[in-house]
């Protein structure tokens, strides 16, 4: 059993904070009559992540969860809002400040078959961050690489140094990706769907590595996924995101066992019952046929919410409000 850090145990000041973040994508009008569209990827998102916790951001495709991760790691810039790491605002970082920032915040990508350069050996891949940040001594670099490879379970590490990605299995590649991230000993790591391309038994290995990382190196982890079950296993707190809006945040076990938002309830209904076929109690909050709504007005889940109240939910957008001390929901009727 791994230790569960509650909010009381970890420090009260957040290590990462998103303040009112919004991001839009506009597709250009094409020659063939497609009028340009603006898609709201993230809609005024605010959240706090505390040091040493594993925080889960759970949503389906198109929910904006990957975008949130990319904004934090500065692969893209938000359209509005601010991001804070410890106390410094990182939204406008450039140049040296940006490079120093990269020492502290890293990302594990989803596809282990694409996130390693096929032309580069494992040694070069894992040692590259050290080279970039000028850890000059060749011996020191090699030692760090070997140590990190061992810590992600690639043993004996010497065997892997001169291999290339195509010689490794998916699980091994993902471990190399984790090693590349951990070799710099960052403070904050985003894991963007790290196991969606891997088989179940390999995924389990990766989950356990992530837990170990948190234990031994005191790293704070943002776990982005579509799987509530994986989030329950790994995360201290879970946030559920729907079409760019945070709909529920709370302690992992609470969100799973006592979900308050109709969308979270719909998600839990939809997850395969895993053997508990007799307990067919379901929340039944999902509307099969989508309701007509006007764009941008009202609750984002209104078009699919069976328990919505027509007048209020279609006109007003609910904000996250605390329902008890650690559980917040964006719903008028939760």
């Amino acid at each position: 059993m791994h230790s569960v850090k509650t909010m009381e145990e970890s420090s009260k000041k957040p290590i990462l904070q998103l303040e009112d973040i919004s991001k839009t994508y506009s597709s250009k009008a094409s020659f063939f009559g497609d009028t340009g569209k603006e898609v709201i990827a993230l809609n005024h998102i605010s959240l706090k992540i505390f040091k040493g916790e594993i925080f889960g951001l759970i949503g389906e495709s198109g929910s904006g969860k990957t975008t949130a991760g990319r904004l934090i790691v500065k692969l893209e810039e938000p359209a509005a809002g601010r991001i804070f790491l410890d106390d410094s605002e990182i939204t406008r970082f450039k140049g040296k400040a940006l490079k120093d920032f990269r020492l502290k915040v890293q990302m594990i990508f989803q596809d282990p078959y694409q996130s390693l350069n096929p032309q580069v050996s494992i040694y070069d891949t894992v040692s590259e961050p050290l080279l970039i940040h000028k850890i000059d001594n060749v011996q020191a670099r090699k030692h760090l690489v070997l140590q990190t490879l061992k810590s992600v379970g690639l043993s004996p590490p010497d065997d892997f140094l001169h291999r290339y990605p195509h010689q490794l299995s998916g699980g091994q590649r993902q471990r190399v990706a984790i090693a590349r991230v951990m070799v710099l000993k960052p403070q904050f790591v985003i894991a963007d769907e790290p196991t969606s391309m891997l088989d179940a038994s390999i995924s389990a290995q990766i989950f356990n590595i992530l837990l170990e990382m948190r234990e031994k190196l005191d790293v704070t982890l943002l776990f982005i996924s579509h799987s509530l079950a994986a989030a329950r296993y790994l995360c201290d707190r879970i946030a559920v995101i729907y079409r760019g809006n945070l709909v529920e945040i709370g302690r992992g076990e609470e969100v799973i066992q006592k979900p308050k938002h109709p969308y979270t309830q719909a998600l839990l209904d939809a997850i395969p019952k895993f053997g508990h076929w007799d307990e067919v109690e379901s929340y039944n909050t999902f509307l099969k046929a989508e309701r007509d709504t006007s764009q941008g007005v009202g609750c984002p889940f209104f078009s699919r919410c069976k328990v919505a109240h027509q007048e209020r939910c279609s006109q007003e957008r609910p904000h996250l409000r605390k329902s008890d001390n650690s559980h917040s929901v964006a719903c008028f009727y939760a």
């Binding site: 692969l75 990269r102 890293q106 990508f109 096929p118 032309q119 590259e128 970039i132 195509h166 998916g170």
Partner: protein, 308 residues
């Protein structure tokens, strides 16, 4: 095990040596590559040996050496292994000189157009937006111009062209094709997660372009280079055959021109066939070389042991 260590230390100091030896081991396994390389070595020897005949006897000079006793085209003999051309010049020395010219022209033109095309393609692909548009429209304009025609016009305007001018023109007209392909490859690479991962690790643009994008592009660039060599050799041969080559340079195309112009096409197979066969074989061997090198440079194409 103690034998391993000294070797490894030695290799680690010069990683290029290790990489080259590894590459060679892979290359050796490819049959096409071995045939291609053998042929090229043969042509290379021919090119090197082109200096020998004139040293033996001035009559073996490819351009100006004339056999005092022969003044017409004759068949193979002891003195002239492939016979003589219409002026009494030795065909074998011409063939050897032609090999030298083929390498010079082929490799220089290809190299120049690849360097130009790759650089422009990478910059256009990576920078995008205005620079990309500008460079690609330039490429479009050049691509539509027919090389041969332009050279003919230039020859008509400025008289007979020097061989190096021809090389330069071939290079200047052939880079657009390369740059389009390189640009497309760069564009698709730019989006790949491993490039993003390097950005997240803090890499600069320069590092990304030269350490990550270029090595993934090099196989393509090399492959194109081998095609460019073949096309450069054939272009030069075509120009020479049509009479627009450098008259002071003996190339295989020039030899074919002489055969044709002097009406010996069907009368002197010992004169007609060698240059023709050489052109075909050298282009084939460069192609085979390109295919084998592709396997070396792209780890995924190798037939190696895979785990799992």
């Amino acid at each position: 095990m103690s034998m391993e260590k000294p070797n490894k230390k030695h290799l680690n100091r010069f990683p290029w040596i290790a990489r080259f030896l590894r590459g060679w081991a892979i290359y050796k396994q490819n049959i096409l590559g071995k045939i291609g390389l053998t042929l090229l070595v043969m042509f290379g020897l021919m090119a090197l040996c082109s200096f020998i005949p004139p040293l033996i006897d001035p009559m073996y000079q490819p351009m100006i050496g004339v056999d005092p006793e022969i003044s017409c085209s004759t068949g193979p003999s002891i003195k002239h292994w492939l016979g003589t051309d219409f002026m009494g010049r030795d065909i074998l020395s011409q063939l050897l000189a032609g090999a030298r010219v083929a390498f010079m022209v082929g490799v220089s033109a290809a190299f120049m157009s690849i360097v130009l095309g790759t650089t422009i393609g990478m910059i256009a692909g990576y920078m995008g937006k205005f620079i990309d548009t500008l460079l690609m429209r330039l490429a479009d304009m050049i691509m539509v111009m027919p090389t041969l025609l332009v050279v003919l016009i230039l020859a008509a305007l400025f008289g007979q062209l020097n061989i190096w001018t021809i090389v330069l023109i071939i290079a200047l007209f052939r880079w657009p094709g390369v740059s389009r392909v390189i640009r497309a490859q760069t564009l698709s690479l730019k989006q790949r997660p491993f490039i993003e991962a390097t950005k997240v690790a803090g890499a600069s643009h320069v590092r990304i372009i030269f350490r990550h994008i270029m090595p993934n592009i090099l196989p393509l660039a090399f492959l194109y280079m081998t095609f460019r060599v073949t096309s450069a050799i054939i272009t030069e041969a075509a120009l020479a055959f049509l009479g627009f080559g450098d008259p002071s340079t003996v190339s295989w195309g020039m030899m074919l021109q002489w055969v044709w112009k002097t009406g010996h096409m069907f009368k002197a197979p010992y004169w007609l066939l060698p240059p023709g066969i050489c052109i075909s074989l050298i282009t084939l061997s460069f192609y085979m070389l390109g295919r084998a090198m592709d396997e070396v440079l792209d780890p995924r194409l190798r037939n190696e042991e895979q785990a799992g």
